[in-house]
Structure formats: structure tokens, C-alpha cells
């Protein structure tokens, strides 16, 4: 357990040493979101209609973009060997890395998204709902993305490969995340959507750490 805390702390410290990295992911989120109005055109009714979907897609891309180095840096400089040699379960280490990743991306994304939603003309209640879905949904993205990052360790061109592996697995989260916001806006069952999101997060939590650990072990060979 102390190793878990130490690993989260070390990753956060590494980020703290370069606060720009988080800023960059968030900035990417903002820029990507604003691209769509540029590509699509400024009609207000179309924009409000697609806002939740676009924001969720942008959050997904932002999370994935920041994931490609999750284990790669440790792999390339030899730290992964040290993690593999640490005398406590690798599954915990995997979880710690994903946890740190969520703290520095998922959490800020959830805070930031409502601000962008304003630009798409969303209602205050919908903005809150957007934030809530991201809060519940992004841990799943970090876990699934972490698995994809571990699986692609040592493979070349891992950026695009990672996205190819992670995106289909993230689809349910995306659907229920954007769907929840949509449900609130159109009078559907918001609660049920959030419950499904939470269930997805639990499934991911129960399965991915083992898979990530297995992937890391074979990357170390």
C-alpha cells in the first residue's frame, strides 16, 4: 500500500515539475472543442444539439493523447524494470499509474467542460450534468487507456495503435456519458444513465489492473 501511495505521489510530482503538461492537455481539449464550430459552421441550434457529443468526444481524445506516455517513459528509461522488481503486486502499481493519470486529466477535464459548454449555449443544469458524467466516466477512460498504453509498450507508432485499441472499448462510456447529458436536456432518465456509467467504471476497475499487469510483465521480457 505504501508503494501505491509512493507511486501516485511520484507521478504527481513529475507532473508538478512540469505543470505545462496538464495545461497542454486541457488546452488541447479547449482547442479541439472550438475546432468543431469552425469546421461545422455557427448555427446555434445545430451546435447546442451536438454539444454534449462533441465535448465528450474531445474529452476522450484529450485523455488518449495524454496516455501514450503513461508507461512509455518508464519503459524507455528503465524505471519499468524497477517497478517489476518492486516487492508488491504489479496490479497495484498499474492502478496507481491510472489513478495519477485520472487526477491530472480526468478531474480537470470534468471541471473545465462546463465552461466550454457555455460557448455551445447549454443550460446551467445541463452544464452541471455534463460535469457529473465526466467525473463518473473519465476513470473508465483512464483505466482502458492505461491498458492500451501497456499493450502497445515497445510496439512502434504506438500513438495511433493505442487509439485504435482503446476507442472501441471506450464506446459504451461515451454513449452513456453523452447520452446522460442528452437525457437530461430532453427529459429522459438521467439517473439510469449515470448508474450505468458507474457500473462501467466498476467493471473496468475490476478487470483492467490485472490485464495491465500482465501486459507490463510481458513488456519487461
Amino acid at each position: 500500500m505504501s508503494g501505491f501511495v509512493a507511486l501516485v505521489a511520484r507521478d504527481l510530482r513529475l507532473v508538478w515539475r512540469r505543470p505545462g503538461d496538464v495545461a497542454v492537455v486541457l488546452a488541447f481539449f479547449v482547442v479541439a472543442t472550438t475546432l468543431f464550430p469552425l469546421g461545422i459552421g455557427p448555427e446555434a441550434n445545430v451546435l447546442a444539439r451536438i454539444a454534449a457529443g462533441v465535448l465528450w468526444c474531445a474529452a476522450l481524445f484529450a485523455a488518449l493523447l495524454s496516455l501514450d506516455r503513461l508507461f512509455a517513459a518508464d519503459f524507455e528509461d528503465g524505471t519499468l524494470d524497477l517497478l517489476l522488481l518492486a516487492p508488491w503486486p504489479l496490479e497495484l502499481a498499474a492502478l496507481a499509474k491510472c489513478c495519477a493519470h485520472w487526477i491530472v486529466t480526468g478531474l480537470p477535464l470534468a471541471v473545465l467542460a462546463p465552461l466550454l459548454g457555455v460557448a455551445f449555449g447549454l443550460e446551467p443544469a445541463v452544464l452541471l450534468a455534463l460535469s457529473a458524467t465526466l467525473l463518473v466516466g473519465t476513470p473508465t477512460l483512464s483505466l482502458i487507456g492505461g491498458l492500451a498504453a501497456a499493450l502497445t509498450l515497445g510496439a512502434r507508432k504506438s500513438g495511433a495503435l493505442l487509439a485504435l485499441l482503446a476507442l472501441p472499448l471506450c464506446v459504451p462510456t461515451l454513449i452513456f456519458g453523452a447520452g446522460a447529458v442528452e437525457a437530461l436536456a430532453t427529459g429522459g432518465d438521467f439517473r439510469a444513465h449515470i448508474a450505468v456509467l458507474a457500473a462501467l467504471a466498476l467493471v473496468a476497475l475490476a478487470t483492467t489492473p490485472w490485464a495491465i499487469a500482465a501486459a507490463l510483465r510481458q513488456a519487461g521480457e
Binding site: L151, L161, L165, P168, L169, F176, E182, A215
Partner: protein, 239 residues
């Protein structure tokens, strides 16, 4: 020494496949000839869908085989990771493109069916979408297993992916179903109901059996090739 260990299971597999493949090929070819006759000539046009119903005889079996193929990948993945069964890796490598191929057939024939029936090659319907995502899962598996220099590592990484993917498949299917029912376009026509007329059911099942044999034949052939290829690589490395 190690070569013998490596070949223990593959050698047995090869004896088996060599006995089966010739008769399997003949059986598949014969059944295909009969099946095509049943599907294209003998069976009557549907009263509602006209001749397009004939697309069903390839479309539906490919859908079944594509789904069964991914389950096979997951099973092979488990047997590679748990029992380190050397043949499992080779067979998974052989089966993934075959499954992806059947998935592509299902998607494309479905599209070609959609145009006359729905007026569009593609609609974002639940079934279509989840099939598309299955195709992506196949692509990810194929890409991952070939993304490494050491084939063993690619095999194991892909095995992990297949296991997680198969957990996710029902989740994907279920979520896509729910997603779609929210905005279902009313125009989606669907044959079905409990009673399919035997004049359609017979060719359908016949083609399903035929394509199943083709699937098995392809996997056997490709596994055989993978064994040889692995031996070739080993020989190259030893040199």
C-alpha cells in the same frame, strides 16, 4: 530439444489437419455449389423484400461466424495465457483475419441490402453499429499482434486484448442497443418474427453450414502456414 517441445502440439495438429483438409475442401466446394443453387435459383423471392432476401443467405451466416470468431479468439487467448499452449498463439494469428473477413462480408452485404430496403447504405442502427465496433476490435487485434518484432510478444498482447474485448462485447452490444432506441428512425424495416418460411430457412441453414466449413478450412490452412512460418523464422534466427 526446445524445437521438439515447440513442435509437440503443432506436429499433432499438423497430422490432424493433413487428414482433414482434403476432404474438408471437397465437402465445402460441393456444399457451396448446392448452396448457391438453393440461394440464388431455387428459393422463391420474398413477398415483401423481393429478390433482395437472397442477400440474407450470406449476410446472416457471416454475422454469426464473425461473432463466433471473436469468441474463438478469446478462448485461444485464454489458453495461451493460462496454459501457454503454443498452438493457441498460432491459431489466433490465423483466425483473426478470417473473422475480420467474415465481419467485413456481413457489413458490406448488409450495406448493399440497406440501400434497396432503407434507401441508404448505412444508418446508425444498433445492430450495424455494434457489428462495426466488432470489426474495429478485430482490427485492433490484428494490428497489435503484428506490431512487435518478437512475434511471441505480439501474440500475448493480442491475447490479453481478446480477453478484455470479449468481456466488453456484450457491454458494447447492450449499450449500443440502448443508445439507438433513443432515436430509432422509424424507417428501419426488419424481417423476423418467429416464423421464417422453410423455403428461406433451408437455404439459410445450408449456407450457414457451408460458410462454417469454409471458416474452419481457412483457419486450418492458415494455422498450418503459421507453423511453417514460425519454423522459418526460427531457422533464420539460428543462422
Amino acid at each position: 530439444m526446445a524445437d521438439l517441445h515447440f513442435l509437440a502440439n503443432p506436429a499433432r495438429f499438423r497430422r490432424f489437419s493433413q487428414r482433414v483438409v482434403p476432404s474438408l475442401s471437397v465437402a465445402t466446394a460441393l456444399m457451396l455449389a448446392v448452396g448457391l443453387y438453393l440461394a440464388l435459383l431455387q428459393s422463391p423471392p420474398d413477398y415483401q423484400q423481393g429478390d433482395t432476401v437472397r442477400i440474407m443467405f450470406v449476410h446472416v451466416p457471416s454475422a454469426w461466424l464473425a461473432m463466433a470468431g471473436y469468441a474463438l479468439l478469446a478462448g485461444l487467448g485464454a489458453s495461451l495465457l493460462i496454459w501457454r499452449h503454443p498452438l493457441a498463439a498460432l491459431m489466433a494469428r490465423a483466425a483473426a483475419p478470417v473473422g475480420a473477413g467474415f465481419c467485413a462480408v456481413c457489413l458490406l452485404t448488409g450495406s448493399l441490402w440497406g440501400r434497396p430496403m432503407w434507401g441508404a447504405y448505412w444508418v446508425w442502427d444498433a445492430r450495424l453499429t455494434s457489428m462495426l465496433l466488432l470489426f474495429f476490435l478485430y482490427l485492433g487485434h490484428i494490428a497489435l499482434s503484428r506490431a512487435y518484432d518478437e512475434p511471441d510478444r505480439g501474440d500475448r498482447a493480442a491475447a490479453i486484448l481478446a480477453l478484455i474485448g470479449v468481456i466488453n462485447l456484450p457491454i458494447i452490444k447492450f449499450s449500443v442497443d440502448w443508445w439507438n432506441t433513443l432515436h430509432q428512425p422509424a424507417s428501419v424495416a426488419r424481417l423476423g418474427g418467429p416464423s421464417i418460411h422453410p423455403s428461406i430457412l433451408v437455404p439459410l441453414l445450408w449456407m450457414a453450414a457451408t460458410l462454417f466449413l469454409l471458416f474452419v478450412l481457412l483457419v486450418l490452412l492458415r494455422t498450418d502456414t503459421e507453423i511453417d512460418r514460425r519454423r522459418l523464422e526460427n531457422a533464420e534466427q539460428q543462422a
